[in-house]
Amino acid sequence: MARLLPLGWLQLKHQPLRLLAATLGITFAVILICVQMEFREALFQSAVRYHSAMDHDLVMLSPKTTYLVSTKQFPRTRLYQVLGDAGVERVTPVYMSLGSWRNPIDRSSARNIFVIGFDPSDKGFARILDEQQHDLIKLSDHIIFDQRGRPEYGPVAELFKNRGPLAGEINDRSITVSGLYSLGTSFGLDGGVITSDLNFMRAFPKRSKSAIDLGLIHLAPGVDAKQAQKIIVQHIPHDVYVYTSQEFREMEVQHWNKTTPIGYIFTFGAIMGLVVGFIIVYQILFADVQDHLKEYATLKAMGFTHGYLRTVVLQQSLVLALLGFLPGIGLSHLIFDKAAAVTGLPLALDRDAAVFIFLLTIGMCAASGILALRKLRAVDPAEVF
C-alpha cells in the first residue's frame, strides 16, 4: 500500500490565494475572539488588583461582604483567634471604606475614593508600599496616593513629583499626601489611598477600631493554605468566612460577572467572533468541496471511501485552523500591548487562554468542515463518466 498523500493540504496549497483569504478570515476571527475574551478577562483582573496586591495566604471576611468596595465589618477578635491555630504566623487587620476626596486644584469637586487603613508595623502591603512609605503613614494624617487613579482626583501625582508632599482633604479632614503607589482603577473603584489604621480612624471617626473589614492571614512557610483553611474554619464561629486568595479573587469576579452585563457583553462578543470565523471557514470549505466534487467523485470511482473524503475535508479545516491561529495570536499580542498602554488594563494573554482559544479555533474549523461535508454525500461516482 502506497504512502497516503496529504490530499487536503495539497489541495489547499494549490490555490494559494484562496488559502490566504481563508487564513486571513480565520486570523480575523481569532483576533476577535482573543480580544473579546481578553478584555473580559482583563476587566475582571482589574477588579482584583487589590486582592492580588495585598500579601496574604488566607483572608477573613464577613459573610455579608460580596465585593471589595462594599465590605461589611466583623469583630477583630475573630482574626486574632486564628493566631492560635497551627501554621498561622501572623495576621493583619485591614480597614476599608469609601471616603470623599476633594480635588486639590478644583476644590469644588469632591469624589469618592477608596481608603485602606492597616497597622504599618504589620505585614501585608509590602508589595504596594516600600518601607519608607510604611514609616511615613505612621505620621498623623499622612497618606499614600494611587497615582494611577482617575484624573478627576486632580493632578496629585504630578504635583507630588514636582513639589513633594502636598495637602489634600478626605472627608473634610486635612491630610498630607506623602507618597505614591501604583495600582489602578477597576469597577466601582476610581482611585485609592492607603494609610495607617490610626489615620483611617481619624478620617472615619464613626468607625470602631474593633470592627475590621478584612483580615489578612499569613501562614508559616511551607504550610498548605487549603489545609490551614480547613483547620481554621473548624475552630472559629461561622459568623466569618475564610477564603484562600484564589477564592477571594473569585468572589470579586463572580460579583461583577453576575451583577453587571460586562461579562455577558464580552462573552457575546467572543461568540460573535466564533460565529464569524465559523461562517468564513464554512464558506471557504464549502466552495472548496464544490470545486472538487468531480475529483472526489473520481476518487470514489477509484475505490476511495466516503470516510477518506471526510478526512480530506477535516484535514483542510485543521490546517486552516492552525494557519489562522498563529498569526491571530501574534496580532492579538500586538493589539494587547497597545491597548494595555492606553487603558491601563492588565491585558496579557496567558497560556491557558491561548490553549483555550486554539481549541476553540480547531472546534470552529472542524464544525464548519463537518457541515461542508454534507455536500460530499451527494457525490455519486457514477456521475464522473
Binding site: 500500500m1 502506497a2 504512502r3 497516503l4 498523500l5 490530499l7 495539497l10 489541495q11 496549497k13 494549490h14 490555490q15 468531480k294 475529483e295 473520481t298 476518487l299 470514489k300 470511482a301 477509484m302 475505490g303 476511495f304 471511501t305 455519486d380 461516482p381 457514477a382 464522473v384 463518466f385
Partner: protein, 360 residues
C-alpha cells in the same frame, strides 16, 4: 475462478427514475469479456453504453439480470463489496479526471493506495508506468502544464499502475485530436496486450474501432450485431450523400462500379489494381481519400456479391430461391401500381446477367 471471464453480463436491465417516470435504459444485455480481450462498445448518445460501463465498474447496480465482475455478483451487492471491486479496476475517464492539485506522479500515487505493492517500490513503480506512457520527464508537473493527450496518458498510467485485470475506458479519445487519440488507443491496446487485461472501451470515435477484438453495438438499450449497426449507418450515410451531392454521388458510384467490375474480371483484386482505382477516382472526383476509399470499397463489395451470386446461380440457387428472386423483382415493379415495359426489360436484363431463366 481463473477460467471464468473477468466480466460476465447476462440479461442485464437497468432503469432510471421511479414510478411513472421510470425509464428503461438497458434491455436484457448480455455478453462475456475474456481476459486480454478488447471490447469496444459503440452506439449513439443515450443508447446506454455509459450506463453499462458504470454497471461493470461497480458504480451502480442493475435492477435485473446478473453483472459478475472478477467473480463477484454486483447486483444488490453491498457498498463495501462494490468499493472492493472498484479498487481492482482501472478507469480511464473521458476528460482524464486528474486531480489538479497533485502532480502527475502524485496522481498516479493516489491510485496506488490500493495496490498490494510494498511502499518502497512506490516511486519506482510510478516512474516505470509513467515512462511506459511516455511521461517520464513530466512526473513532477501539474496536469495544467500538460497537453490534452499527455493528460489522457497520465490518466492511463493511473489506471494501469496497479496492473488491474479489468480496464474500463469511457470515450478516452473524445477530447483529443486525431493523432493523440490514435496514440492513446494504441497505448491502451499495447498495455492491455502485455498485461492480459480485459478492456471495455466506450467510444463514438469510428477511427479507433480497429483496436477491438469485438465490437458491441448498443442502440436504445438493446445490444445489436455489428453488421446490423453498420448497415443502418451506411444506408443513412448513402442516402445523405445522394441528397447532398446527387450528381457526383451517382457518377462516382457508377464509375467506381465499372472500375470494380474490370478489376474483378479475373476474380481477384490485386493491390496494384486497388491503388490504380484509387488514383483514378481521386483524379475525377476531387474527393478526399477517405471518401474515395469508402465508395470504392462499397462498389467492390457490391461487385463481389454480384459475382459470387452469379457463380452460385443455376444449380447453385435452387428452384425455390430462383422463383422467389424473380417474384421479388416483379413485386417491386408492381409497387407503384403498374408494371411498365421498361421495368420488364430491366428484370429481363438482370435475370440474364445472373444467369437465371426468366419465366415467360
Amino acid at each position: 475462478m481463473t477460467d471464468s471471464p473477468p466480466i460476465s453480463l447476462s440479461d442485464v436491465s437497468y432503469f432510471y427514475g421511479k414510478g411513472a417516470l421510470k425509464k428503461q435504459i438497458l434491455f436484457g444485455v448480455g455478453t462475456d469479456v475474456r481476459a486480454g480481450e478488447i471490447i469496444i462498445l459503440t452506439g449513439p448518445s443515450g443508447s446506454g453504453k455509459t450506463t453499462l460501463l458504470t454497471l461493470i465498474g461497480a458504480l451502480r447496480s442493475a435492477q435485473e439480470g446478473s453483472v459478475k465482475v472478477l467473480g463477484q455478483e454486483l447486483n444488490n451487492a453491498k457498498e463495501r463489496a462494490l468499493i472492493k471491486i472498484r479498487r481492482q479496476i482501472g478507469y480511464i475517464f473521458q476528460s482524464h479526471n486528474l486531480l489538479d492539485s497533485l502532480t502527475i506522479s502524485q496522481n498516479v500515487q493516489m491510485a496506488m493506495r490500493f495496490s498490494k505493492a510494498k511502499g518502497g517500490n512506490t516511486r519506482k513503480q510510478i516512474q516505470d508506468v509513467l515512462e511506459r506512457v511516455g511521461l517520464g520527464e513530466h512526473m513532477n508537473k501539474y496536469p495544467s502544464a500538460l497537453s490534452g493527450g499527455q493528460k489522457q496518458r497520465a490518466g492511463i498510467a493511473r489506471a494501469l499502475v496497479n496492473k488491474p485485470s479489468i480496464v474500463l475506458a469511457d470515450e478516452p479519445t473524445a477530447s483529443l485530436d486525431k493523432q493523440s487519440g490514435r496514440d492513446v488507443v494504441d497505448l491502451i491496446q499495447e498495455l492491455a496486450r502485455e498485461d492480459g487485461t480485459a478492456v471495455v472501451l466506450v467510444t463514438h470515435d469510428n477511427r479507433i474501432l480497429d483496436v477491438a477484438d469485438r465490437i458491441l453495438h448498443l442502440e436504445d438499450g438493446h445490444m445489436k450485431s455489428l453488421t446490423e449497426a453498420v448497415s443502418e449507418d451506411t444506408s443513412r450515410m448513402l442516402n445523405l450523400l445522394s441528397k447532398h451531392d446527387p450528381s457526383s454521388a451517382s457518377y462516382l458510384a457508377s464509375f467506381a462500379f465499372a472500375l470494380a467490375r474490370v478489376a474483378f474480371a479475373d476474380n481477384e483484386v490485386t493491390e496494384e489494381e486497388r491503388i490504380a482505382m484509387q488514383r483514378i477516382l481521386r483524379d475525377v472526383a476531387h474527393l478526399e481519400p477517405a471518401e474515395v476509399n469508402f465508395i470504392m470499397e462499397l462498389s467492390m463489395m457490391q461487385r463481389l456479391a454480384q459475382s459470387q451470386m452469379a457463380d452460385r446461380t443455376g444449380d447453385g440457387l435452387g428452384a425455390d430461391r430462383t422463383k422467389h428472386f424473380v417474384e421479388s423483382l416483379y413485386e417491386i415493379a408492381r409497387a407503384d401500381g403498374s408494371v411498365s415495359p421498361e421495368e420488364i426489360n430491366e428484370i429481363r436484363a438482370i435475370t440474364a446477367e445472373f444467369g437465371i431463366a426468366h419465366p415467360e
